[in-house]
């Protein structure tokens, strides 16, 4: 370190109270002027040991805890959990539940990516995209609220079914929203993504090569930003995603090396459009049915273990659940996508500048609730 960097190394403790660490994250920066020689993340400020809590609650009662992991994409969090339990129990769900789950998960993905894009603009210094993204996100949250009554922590996916069926006219309004929303993405692109200042700020920093990304277990949009075409929905389809037509966007490196912050950001923006496509198809596939049909009276899976992963907006969310045959889970271990991507942070941020640290952190799109669990 001393050989490469002249001058004195100063330690700058960024966080836990800092406007753009996206929560209570502490970064220990070793800086030489504006250059960062080393950035060591310290996590755990939001640790509440949900895995221990879950061992003392019955299976359906875990869902509210699971919601609170990634509070920006709670629908996807609980989706992974209930799919794992259903697989353990061997429950088959009907088509309506399946399609509604997909619609909700994709709407939630859009909402989550909107937060990611908006806060990323905020990190880079442009404040307007944040508000525009939140404006559209509110509409999605309205859908959730009218359906299940909550705006953030839904507890909507239940083991074997859904909490409520959707209100009449939901399908029409969702399609209307998607029609309205797709041009808004162009607007956002004009304002932020194609802005040359933004490109220069992000397109050459925080490079994660595909090899590094895989070695560090980076998943989801961050992995695809590095040019690896891998999506759980496509490569290990669950919930019948194989019937849907959608592209898996990958980072192409238009303005710099592949795997830069801009690529990761752009993958999210492109994914939003793919989600819109999926929503249209899922609404078309929606058939009448009872969403409470296959909800078991008592969730008591046989002894065994299961690993189930789904594609949540921040990457692959894996649940490793060990059941001992009782009504409470023996052990739930969550593979959190943000946790793994955060472990690659040190690798991605060496030799960058302080402003880049924020850019890299924002492009990873972390949620501290999920890292610390």
């Amino acid at each position: 370190m001393e050989a490469e960097y002249s001058g004195e190394i100063m330690t700058l403790s960024m966080g836990p109270q800092h406007p753009s660490t996206h929560g209570v994250l502490r970064l220990e920066l070793k800086t030489d002027g504006e250059i960062v020689a080393d950035a060591i993340p310290h996590i755990g400020y939001l640790h509440r040991c949900f895995e221990k809590h879950a061992e003392n609650v019955e299976y359906p009662g875990v869902v509210p805890f699971v919601d609170r992991m990634d509070y920006c994409a709670a629908m996807n969090m609980e989706l992974g959990y209930v799919l794992a339990i259903e697989k353990l129990l061997g429950i088959q769900i009907n088509n309506r539940v399946r399609c509604l789950r997909i619609i909700m998960a994709e709407l939630d993905r859009i909402a989550s990516h909107l937060i990611a894009a908006g806060t990323y603009g905020n990190d880079i210094g442009s404040f307007t995209p944040f508000m525009w993204c939140f404006r559209d996100r509110e509409t999605i949250l309205d859908f959730f609220e009218e359906t299940c009554g909550a705006r953030l922590l839904y507890n909507y996916n239940w083991v074997g079914g859904l909490m409520h069926d959707v209100k009449p006219g939901f399908e029409k309004r969702v399609i209307e929203f998607v029609d309205y929303f797709e041009p808004q993405v162009d607007n956002l692109n004009k304002l932020l993504s194609d802005n040359y200042i933004f490109i220069r700020r992000t397109a050459n920093v925080g490079i994660l090569t595909p090899e590094t990304a895989i070695s560090y277990g980076v998943t989801g949009p961050n992995l695809r930003g590095s040019g690896v075409q891998f999506d759980v929905r496509r490569n290990e389809a669950y919930l019948g995603y194989e019937e849907f037509e959608f592209d898996v966007p990958v980072g192409k490196g238009e303005y710099g090396p592949v795997g830069s912050c801009w690529d990761r950001y752009m993958v999210r923006i492109r994914e939003v459009r793919e989600s819109c496509k999926i929503i249209r198809q899922a609404v078309a596939k929606l058939t009448p049915g009872d969403v409470h049909e296959s909800i078991p009276k008592r969730v008591k899976p046989p002894a065994g273990e299961i690993y189930m992963r789904t594609e949540c907006p921040r990457g692959e969310l894996g649940y490793y659940i060990v059941s001992d045959g009782s009504t409470k889970p023996y052990r739930i271990k969550v593979k959190s996508p943000c946790f793994t991507v955060m472990s690659a942070f040190r690798e991605a941020s060496k030799g960058t500048m302080i402003a880049d640290i924020i850019a890299i952190l924002g492009s990873f799109d972390i949620v501290l609730g999920e890292i610390d669990r």
Partner: protein, 155 residues
């Protein structure tokens, strides 16, 4: 590749160091001798037909009589998954670190150390990761009782 084939390859290569295999289970797994885990993992990472380049999950489970460390491996090339388990005693568990094979193992092992007190030999930076550095006990062990007072604050 099917889990059955993976388990056959593993038994052929490592023989008695693979303690038990259940490739038919919902989550197919093999139990590996703790001292052999580094060799097994390196083999699975480098062998072209396996190419397990993605460590999906590394975590512990406390079975009251033993602690199991679970490695779920996935291949981004062949799209197959396999689980490996190492059984460790509850008193002073220790196991070689696989940090040299997958970068992400660094943090996963720190978490397992934090939650179960498993020492990973050869780990570059084995500190607590989620709990405070001076926390006592290992929270995810089944016999863990949270402290009443931490640094003068009621918990």
């Amino acid at each position: 590749m099917k889990p059955q084939e993976i388990s056959v390859i593993l038994t052929e290569k490592f023989g008695a160091r693979i303690l038990e295999s259940q490739p038919e289970a919902m989550n197919p797994w093999s139990a590996v001798e703790a001292t052999a885990i580094l060799d097994v993992c390196r083999f699975m990472r480098t062998e072209d037909s396996l190419c397990m380049d993605h460590l999906e999950l590394l975590g512990g489970v406390d079975y009251k009589d033993r602690i199991e460390i679970v490695y779920i491996l996935y291949s981004m090339k062949h799209y197959h998954r396999y689980t490996m388990k190492c059984r460790l005693p509850r008193e002073n568990p220790s196991i070689p670190s696989v940090e040299s094979i997958w970068g992400v193992a660094n943090w996963h092992e720190r978490e397992a150390f934090d939650m179960f007190g498993v020492v990973f030999e050869g780990h570059s930076d084995l500190r607590r990761i989620l709990c405070p550095d001076d926390w006592e006990g290992y929270p995810l062990r089944k016999d863990y009782r949270p402290p009443k007072i931490y640094r003068g604050m009621p918990v």
